[in-house]
């Protein structure tokens, strides 16, 4: 190996693209470490507090693309206060000061200020791609800065962010000279947009492949946009409300005929179900369909639509599709790999329209199914066992029974055996979310069989510490463990603290761990940050070690305690 000049090795390393593989390569020897780090362009940081921007810059001078994740996953469900952390500004500031030629920034669950966006837009001449997922803290003014200053912008992709919408003018900030857009997604914005500016922008973007509109874009604008961009591959429809006998409807039909490349369809933030026939022609070619924002589509109309989708690989839908509708999916979508069924009435009186029956039907009809997110009214062990037999290829299996401790309604038993069958059969399972009535037994199965498991979400389950211990001892590849409302205490937490260094993070809320237990972990493992999130300020006057901790989040880090935590976060 010493005989190869560096350039040859570098060339070879160019073919190694996965983060894991590149990380492994860098560990082989000093010279490989050096070559790898100088040639690395893409870096993924799963927890922004595990490393500092300065160390990132020092190690990877050739950095072009950075992915950062901030808040823990349970922040999605209001379990983490908004100002807990995950601020991107320090990263952008450090990168701006350095010589890094940043071209792409991808952020998830981070706090992004307008100031950050402005600094970003002015600091990197070749900046091309901004992807923000589940972020917050910015307004459309920040977007205006990006539009105005990033001369070679190719991608602006906003997914499910909380944006303060100052209405509309940001789109006009794209200069006439900007013709490089490939992807534009502003579906999550709630305000008006300048429709004329949008039309002009699309007209001068010949490479535009992905366009996702917000609710404020009406149908006649959509029709005009499609006429100008028949090359689109991914379309997100904003508002789909119109009169089926109108001029616009006819024009839309014509425009759709020209769009032969659309493979992915989403949006329908407002929809008139009787007008779907105009877009039937594209359903036959779709590989991804997201109707999860369209509660107005259900019953026979929805089923008729699904029957066109023979090539579908990923389907995101609301539970008003019903078991019957899932039966239609099972008959039609033989290529289906991923299914997500969301609740249309999550806080409602138990009128959820899918049960274990729908899932069994899909598992029987769609043998390629490998990824599931399923919100349902109930589940049985028998159904889970059948699903496990039909689909041994699950990589992601997330089941959410709306009543979190509901047993099998037929046998009144816990769902241990059902989930046990899933982990035993699906040898490649990487992500699992449990719900329903569950005892320690299910965790015994998980520890025994889920050898590839990387992420596990547990809520309202188990009888004792044994449950958590089975998982920590058994799942060698575990990276993220998030637990809420389970009877796990200090004994489980402290059994093997070294394990947490092999993981990205552990979240425990409303469990039985005490302040003393958490302190003990922090003492024994200086490489972990152990955070206590104490919003009610119970800990302020009473630092009794025996006190139970409401929310604990611990994660491995190379840079010690963070300095930006709010007052109610205690870092031990």
């Amino acid at each position: 190996m010493n005989y190869f000049p560096d350039e040859v090795l570098e060339h070879v390393f160019d073919f190694i693209t996965s983060h894991k593989d590149r990380n492994s390569v860098s560990l082989v020897c000093k010279s490989w470490y050096k070559i790898e780090r100088c040639s690395r362009q893409r870096v993924f940081i799963g927890n922004c507090y595990s490393i500092s921007p300065e160390r990132l810059i020092a190690r990877f001078p050739g950095l072009k693309s950075l992915t950062l994740k901030g808040k823990p996953h349970f922040a999605d469900f209001n379990l983490v206060p908004h100002d807990w952390g995950g601020f991107v500004y320090p990263w952008i500031k450090a990168l701006a000061k350095s010589r890094i030629g940043l071209e792409e920034l991808r952020l998830k669950r981070m706090v992004v200020s307008d100031e950050s966006l402005e600094l970003l837009s002015k600091s990197f001449v070749n900046f091309k791609s901004l992807v923000l997922v589940s972020c917050e803290g910015f307004t459309t003014d920040g977007l205006a800065a990006i539009a105005a200053n990033c001369r070679f912008l190719r991608e602006l992709d906003l997914q499910e962010n909380e944006v303060d919408d100052h209405r509309g003018h940001w789109l006009s900030c794209f200069p006439e000279s900007c013709t490089s857009l490939i992807s534009l997604n502003f579906a999550c914005l709630r305000g008006e947009v300048n429709l004329g500016a949008l039309e002009r922008l699309v007209s001068r973007s010949p490479n535009l492949k992905s366009l996702r509109l917000n609710r404020a874009v009406p149908l006649d604008t959509l029709q005009k946009l499609l006429m100008r961009a028949p090359q689109l591959v991914d379309l997100g429809i904003g508002s789909y409300v119109h009169d089926p006998f109108s001029e616009v409807y006819n024009k839309l039909k014509i425009a759709i005929q020209r769009c032969k490349s659309i493979r992915s369809l989403s949006g329908f933030l407002e929809v008139a179900p009787h007008c779907m026939s105009a877009i039937y022609p594209i359903f036959g070619n779709l590989t991804f369909l997201n109707l999860s924002y369209a509660p107005g589509l259900h019953g026979n109309k929805l089923m008729k639509l699904i029957q066109h989708c023979r090539k579908l690989q990923r389907l995101w839908i609301l539970d008003c599709i019903g078991d019957k509708g899932l039966g239609v999916v099972a008959l039609t979508c033989k290529e289906l790999q991923e299914l997500r069924v969301f609740p249309s009435d999550p806080f409602g009186a138990g009128n959820a329209a899918v049960t274990e029956e729908g899932l069994v039907l899909v598992s029987a009809g769609c043998p390629k199914l490998n990824s599931l997110l399923y919100f349902c009214q109930q589940m049985t062990n028998a159904a889970l066992i059948t699903v496990a037999k039909n689909c041994p290829n699950f990589i992601r299996f997330r089941l959410c029974i709306l009543d979190p401790i509901k047993p099998d309604p037929v046998t009144n038993q816990p769902l241990d055996e059902g989930f046990g069958a899933i982990v035993q059969s699906c040898k490649g399972l990487k992500r699992l979310s449990l719900s329903g009535l569950l005892t320690d037994q299910v965790f015994l199965y998980i520890g025994m069989y889920a050898e590839q498991l990387e992420m596990l979400s547990i809520a309202f389950a188990a009888d004792s510490d044994k449950g958590m211990l089975y998982v920590l001892n058994g799942c060698k590849k575990l990276r993220k463990l998030e637990i809420r409302d389970c009877p796990f205490g200090d004994a489980a937490l402290l059994e093997d603290v070294g394990k947490y260094e092999t993981m990205r993070s552990l979240w425990m809320s409303s469990c039985e761990v005490t302040l003393g237990g958490c302190k003990s972990v922090a003492e024994k493992m200086p490489s972990l940050n152990v955070e206590i999130i104490d919003e009610c300020e119970q800990m302020e006057f009473n630092l009794d070690d025996k006190q139970k901790v409401d929310k604990m989040y611990l994660y491995r880090t190379l840079v010690g305690h963070r300095k930006d935590a709010p007052e109610y976060v205690l870092i031990l």
Binding site: D76, F77, F347, I405, D485, S510
Partner: protein, 208 residues
């Protein structure tokens, strides 16, 4: 019927229905999603009758909800009281339209209010919010007084006009269905409702 009798009626019924059997203990919670008294009761979910205690009209009289509302809303309420469950992203307001403002009239009040039904997830939240809205109104009648004396209760029945123009009792149908069909709300004085036979016989909805 005086508030004294009304209150006693409810307590007996509450005992008879054995709410305790339906209470689930969840371990240490964070703050529950909805509270009408601002406090979190640790360790257990609260029954509906404890949580909602409307105070409308003059002198902070207690308003008792129609009994059928308690029954119908019992199970959905327990779901809404757990923070972060079901694990649906707050952002993803699937199933919601932009907003739905309806007028709210209270018998005896000189002006109406408007509420956006879309911001609530349950009957409990709506009625709690109405309580805040109208207790403010009555407080202002007694200019400098912060404290309101409890006098005889005037009972109010929450009713609404639906798409067909009929006046319905709030609480019989699932929440989402109510939101879609409600055109306006009226808190009707029970003295008017007596003739309709709504208050007397407790209704047990067949779908609990």
């Amino acid at each position: 019927m005086s508030s004294e009798n009304g209150k006693r009626l409810l307590e007996t019924d509450a005992g008879g229905l054995n709410f305790e059997a339906t209470e689930l203990t969840l371990g240490l919670p964070g703050e529950p999603r909805v509270t009408s008294d601002g406090g979190a009761k640790l360790g257990s979910k609260r029954g509906f009758s404890e949580t909602v205690d409307l105070k409308l009209g003059d002198n902070n009289q207690e308003v008792k909800l129609g009994h059928s509302l308690q029954e119908a809303a019992k199970s959905p309420v327990s779901k809404t009281q757990v923070v972060g469950w079901p694990p649906v992203r707050g952002f993803a307001r699937r199933g919601k339209k932009s907003c739905k403002y309806v007028k709210v009239a209270v018998d005896g009040a000189p002006y109406l209010r408007k509420v956006d039904l879309e911001i609530y997830n349950s009957y409990q939240q709506l009625l709690t919010s109405l309580e805040d809205m109208f207790s403010c109104f009555t407080i202002r009648n007694y200019l400098n007084e912060k404290k309101i004396d409890q006098v005889n209760g005037i009972e109010y029945m929450p009713t609404y006009e639906d798409k067909d123009g009929d006046w319905m009792l709030v609480g019989d149908v699932p929440w989402q269905m109510f939101v879609e069909s409600c055109k306006r709300l009226r808190l009707m004085k029970s003295s008017e409702a007596v003739g309709l036979g709504l208050k007397t016989a407790p209704k047990y909805s067949s779908t609990n």
